[in-house]
Homo-oligomer: 193 residues x 2
DNA sequence: TCCCGGCTATAACAGTCGTCATAGCCTAGC
DNA sequence: GCTAGGCTATGACGACTGTTATAGCCGGGA
C-alpha cells in the first residue's frame, strides 16, 4: 500500500487545525479545507466517516498534542519555565499571523455542536484537561498542595486562552503580556511559599 | 409614528446576542434570528443597513453594556465585590443554559470577520476594554498602582472569559469556580498590599 | 378624507453548504 | 499478467446562506 493517502489525511488534519484557529469551525467549509490542504474533496468521507465533526475532533487533538509536547518538555525545568513557554507559543501564533489566528481548541469549545454529536467539543475538553494536568503536576512537584495546584493550572489555561482572544479583538499583544506578568507573579509566589 | 418598529429592532438586538453566545456568529443565520426574535426578515436591512455585521456589533455592545452596568454597580463596594458579581453573572449564564451559552463578546472576537468589515470585532474590543477599565479603576481606588491595576484587570477579564469556555467544553462549572478562588486571592492580596 | 412615510411581506438572486454515490485510476501482491 | 482494494474525481442532492428589490399595509398629520 502506498503511503500517499495517509499523507493526504495528515495534511487535512493539520490544515483543519489551521483554518479552525483562524475562522472557527462553522466558518470552515469542507471544500475550502480540502483546497487549503491540497487534498481531494472525495477523500474527506473516506478518511473521516464521521464527517466534519470527526475531522474537527482530530484537528483539535492534533493541535492540542503539539502544545502538550512543548509544555511537557519545558515544564521539566519548573512551572514558571513551562508557563513562559506556553505564553511564548501563543505570542508567536498571534503575532506570526498578524492577529488572525488564535486557539483552535477554544474555537471548537464555544461553538454549538450539531445535535447529538459532541465529539469535537469533547476532544476540546480533553485537550484543556491535558494542559491543566501537565501544569498542575509541575506545580505539585514544586510543593504546591494538590487542590491549589489544580486551581492554579486552571487559572493559567483559562487566562492564557482568554488573553489570546482579547489580543485578537484589540489587534494588540498587550493583553497577553499583561497576563504573562501577572501569572508569572502568581506562580512564583505559589512555588516559593 | 408608532413605536412598534423600534421594539422589534430591540428584540432583534437582544435575540442576536442570545443566539451568538450559544452558537457563534457564523452559525447564526439572519433568518433564524428573525424567527427567534419574532421579527420580520424584511426589516433586518431596514434597521441595520450594514447587514449582519452591524447587527452583530450592536448585539455585542448591548450584551457588554448589561455586564458593565452590573459591574459598575457592584464595584462601588470594592474590587473583590465586583469580581464576585462578575463571576456570579457568568456562573448564572452557564448553569442557567445547561452549558449551552457563553459570552457573545468572546464568540465574535475569535471569528474572522468578512473582508474589510471589522466593526463587530471592534465592538468586542471596546467591550473588553470597558470591563477592564471599570475593574482597573476600582483597583486604583483601593491603592493599587496604575500599571499593576491595569494588568490585574486584564487578567480578570481574560481568565473569566477563558474559564467560561472551559466550562462549556467540559460541561462542568468547576473551572469557573477554580478561577474564582484564585482570582479572589490575587485581588485581595493586591488590595491589601 | 387623503396622503405620506415607516414598516413589512414575499419572492428572488446567486451562491455555498455538508454529504453521498458511483465510476474509475493505479498500485501491491500473487 | 491479473486481480483486489485503497484512493480519487466527478457530479449531484436538497437545503440553506446573506442580501436585495418591490409591492403593499397601515397608522398619524393635514
Amino acid at each position: 500500500m502506498t503511503e500517499q493517502g495517509q499523507e493526504a489525511r495528515q495534511r487535512m488534519v493539520a490544515g483543519a487545525a489551521d483554518m479552525i484557529r483562524r475562522r472557527g469551525l462553522n466558518a470552515t467549509s469542507v471544500r475550502e479545507l480540502t483546497k487549503h490542504s491540497a487534498a481531494p474533496l472525495g477523500s474527506t468521507y473516506h478518511y473521516f466517516p464521521g464527517g466534519k465533526q470527526e475531522l474537527a475532533a482530530e484537528a483539535v487533538r492534533y493541535a492540542g498534542s503539539l502544545v502538550s509536547k512543548v509544555l511537557r518538555r519545558e515544564l521539566a525545568a519548573g512551572p514558571v519555565e513551562g508557563l513562559r513557554a506556553f505564553l511564548a507559543l501563543w505570542r508567536q501564533t498571534v503575532l506570526g499571523t498578524d492577529f488572525q489566528a488564535g486557539c483552535p481548541v477554544l474555537a471548537v469549545a464555544i461553538e454549538e455542536p450539531p445535535a447529538g454529536d459532541r465529539s469535537a467539543v469533547a476532544a476540546a475538553a480533553e485537550v484543556f484537561a491535558d494542559w491543566e494536568a501537565l501544569m498542575g503536576a509541575a506545580l505539585g512537584e514544586r510543593g504546591v498542595a494538590a487542590p491549589d495546584a489544580a486551581r492554579l493550572a486552571t487559572l493559567v489555561v483559562a487566562a492564557v486562552e482568554g488573553s489570546v482572544a482579547l489580543c485578537r479583538a484589540k489587534r494588540d499583544i498587550a493583553p497577553l503580556d499583561a497576563v504573562a506578568t501577572q501569572l508569572e507573579a502568581v506562580l512564583s509566589a505559589a512555588v516559593a511559599r
